[in-house]
């Protein structure tokens, strides 16, 4: 627990093991003017440490507004929000400590690169958060190798000389170098080729499973969401419409389509199987899992 939690005792009981806890969170853009727009409407949720949560919803549904709350890029207007013990409803949360613990990867993060070498760019965050200079290089090396780049090859290159996929990985490394406990990503795979997508996703999964990083991922690709997330939050017009495990959520095909969202291919397939009376194991979401399940079903019938 950090300092800020001690200064103001939370007025609300924060559940144990909660990384993110929001209660009655509201937000209005341009409040008190003719252009007022409700972006968040009474959001209540808890995300536990080590979860992989996907956030989906239409443009303007409030998901980006919510995600920016987690890093205090948008300050809490009304309601209670606690992230890793930092009370963000307090007047002055410890922003430095918070932002070090909550890594935020924006859409097209490669557009934020600025330094003359890859090393300097990855170290930017570390320097801002006051990591000693002799430790920085090692941390940058770890981060760059984590994203699959050869540290000695790229460290002195200009980030602008790299390919699109490499740039994105350098930008990711710039966030991961700080070893955040929560990783928030806004469409991390947008604009990447299929292979780049798979690489980023497997990196995120690895961080989540091996290092226990809590992951929140905004995505428009339902297949990606279905295969990776433990839980899916669906935002609709500023409200939290659904908060369910992916399998359960995508059984509601009608409701999903009514919100102009896609049903993932594997979910549709499993739903069809279930409609025809087959029992599909609860945790089969990837193509491989579904294949295995179908083979098992066939063998069970033959036997």
């Amino acid at each position: 627990m950090s300092k800020s939690a001690k200064v103001t005792a939370p007025a609300v009981e924060v559940p144990q093991n909660a990384a993110i806890f929001a209660q009655n969170l509201n937000f209005t853009y341009n409040a008190k003017s003719a252009f007022a727009k409700r972006a968040l409407d009474n959001i209540n949720l808890t995300v536990c440490n080590g979860e992989f949560v996907a956030i989906v919803g239409h443009t303007g549904s409030g998901k980006t507004t919510f995600v920016q709350h987690l890093n205090a890029l948008i300050r809490v207007q009304d309601g209670y929000l606690n992230v890793l013990g930092h009370d963000l409803s307090a007047k002055k949360p410890d922003l430095k400590a918070l932002r070090q613990q909550v890594g935020m990867v924006f859409q097209y993060p490669e557009y934020q690169l600025f330094a003359d070498t890859v090393l300097a760019d990855v170290c930017f965050g570390l320097k801002n958060f006051g990591v000693e200079s002799d430790k920085r290089e090692q941390m940058a090396r770890d981060a760059l190798e984590l994203v699959g780049l050869d540290f000695d090859k790229v460290k002195d290159k200009s980030p602008f000389d790299l390919s699109g996929g490499e740039k994105r990985r350098v930008a990711l490394a710039g966030v991961l170098a700080m070893k955040p406990q929560i990783l928030v990503m806004d469409e991390p795979t947008a604009g990447l080729d299929p292979r780049g997508k798979l690489e980023v996703l497997s990196l995120v999964r690895q961080l989540n499973q091996r290092d226990g990083v809590t992951v929140l991922m905004v995505s428009h690709d339902m297949n990606e969401v279905y295969e990776n997330a433990d839980r899916v939050l669906v935002f609709r017009e500023g409200t939290l419409a659904y908060d369910l495990p992916p399998r359960e959520l995508f059984r509601k095909e009608e409701e999903i389509r009514a919100m102009n969202l896609e049903v993932p291919a594997m979910a549709a397939f499993c739903n069809e199987l279930e409609k025809n009376g087959f029992v599909v194991p609860e945790n089969c979401r990837t193509v491989e899992d579904v294949c295995a399940a179908v083979v098992a079903l066939k063998e069970a019938r033959n036997a």
């Binding site: 932002r99 600025f114 930017f124 801002n128 602008f160 700080m178």
Partner: protein
């Protein structure tokens, strides 16, 4: 936070002034801006005020948004006025109104400060009436059309107009991009609000460089997009909206020209042979 900044604040409307030809509006605004410097007396300033209020009324734009444009130059206004107060010497034999050490204030100084102040305010109000009632697109077309004669001396009029309209259209997207980059760097712990001047200036490098790189990227993308749609410059291009003069332009031009002919005449006349209208010189 940057989104509050407005540029070329067009106020949508359907009024007499909105419907006037952008070229005529531009010329009349220029006439107004030149003419205002030939106004020498407070009485005539009174007439100009009435004219401006009449124009604003006819244009049906709220007075508040017109006055907002003054906010941007308030420092310049006060500075000019103060300099005028202190550095204008009175006519020979005139007693200073107030003096202390080497600083002397004369009535003439106060008068000229007030006039400069009024001139600058009216200048800004006049031009903001133009931008409030004319879309940036129309304005660029007007500039292009008015500069056409310069083609004789090989001035690339069309390209100039294109640059102008691209500049205007890029401003909102650049503001958005700046906003995004600021957020991204803040998330990496960048701090723009503390430290000394040099430290703060340095803190802007992580914003400026991505912004510049992004600007070049957009420019290249746009150039490619234009190329792929067979854009080849001014030759053989026609406009979607053809500008035509109407009775409104005639009426507007007549009013403005008549008014400023009066102003110029008054300026040209010397005090001796205009005793009858001496009151106009106060």
């Amino acid at each position: 936070m940057l989104r509050d900044v407005t540029f070329g604040q067009y106020y949508p409307g359907n009024s007499f002034v909105h419907k006037m030809d952008a070229r005529i509006k531009l010329i009349l605004t220029l006439l107004f801006m030149v003419g205002i410097f030939f106004v020498k007396s407070f009485v005539v300033f009174g007439f100009v005020t009435v004219l401006l209020l009449a124009i604003i009324f006819v244009a049906r734009v709220p007075l508040k948004s017109v006055l907002k444009s003054i906010k941007g130059i308030i420092v310049l206004l006060l500075l000019t006025a103060i300099i005028n107060i202190f550095f204008t010497k009175g006519e020979d034999g005139e007693q200073p109104l107030w003096s202390w050490w080497k600083i002397e204030i004369y009535v003439a100084g106060l008068k000229s400060a007030a006039k400069i102040f009024l001139r600058l305010v009216y200048l800004v109000i006049g031009s903001s009436v133009l931008t409030l009632t004319t879309t940036p697109v129309d304005l660029t077309h007007a500039v292009e059309s008015l500069l056409k004669p310069l083609r004789i001396v090989k001035f690339p009029v069309h390209e100039f107009a294109l640059i102008m309209s691209l500049t205007l259209s890029f401003i909102p997207s650049l503001i958005e991009e700046t906003d995004r980059i600021i957020r991204a760097q803040k998330a990496r712990g960048a701090d723009f609000d503390t430290g000394g001047l040099i430290k703060r200036a340095k803190a802007f490098i992580p914003i400026l460089i991505p912004l510049l790189v992004g600007g070049f990227r957009r420019a290249e993308e746009l150039a490619n997009a234009m190329n792929s749609r067979c854009y080849e410059g001014a030759t053989k291009r026609t406009c979607m909206r053809v500008m035509k003069l109407s009775w409104r332009d005639l009426v507007g031009a007549f009013v403005m020209i008549a008014f400023f002919t009066g102003v110029f005449l008054l300026y040209g006349m010397s005090k001796q042979w205009s005793v009858d209208v001496a009151w106009l010189y106060y």
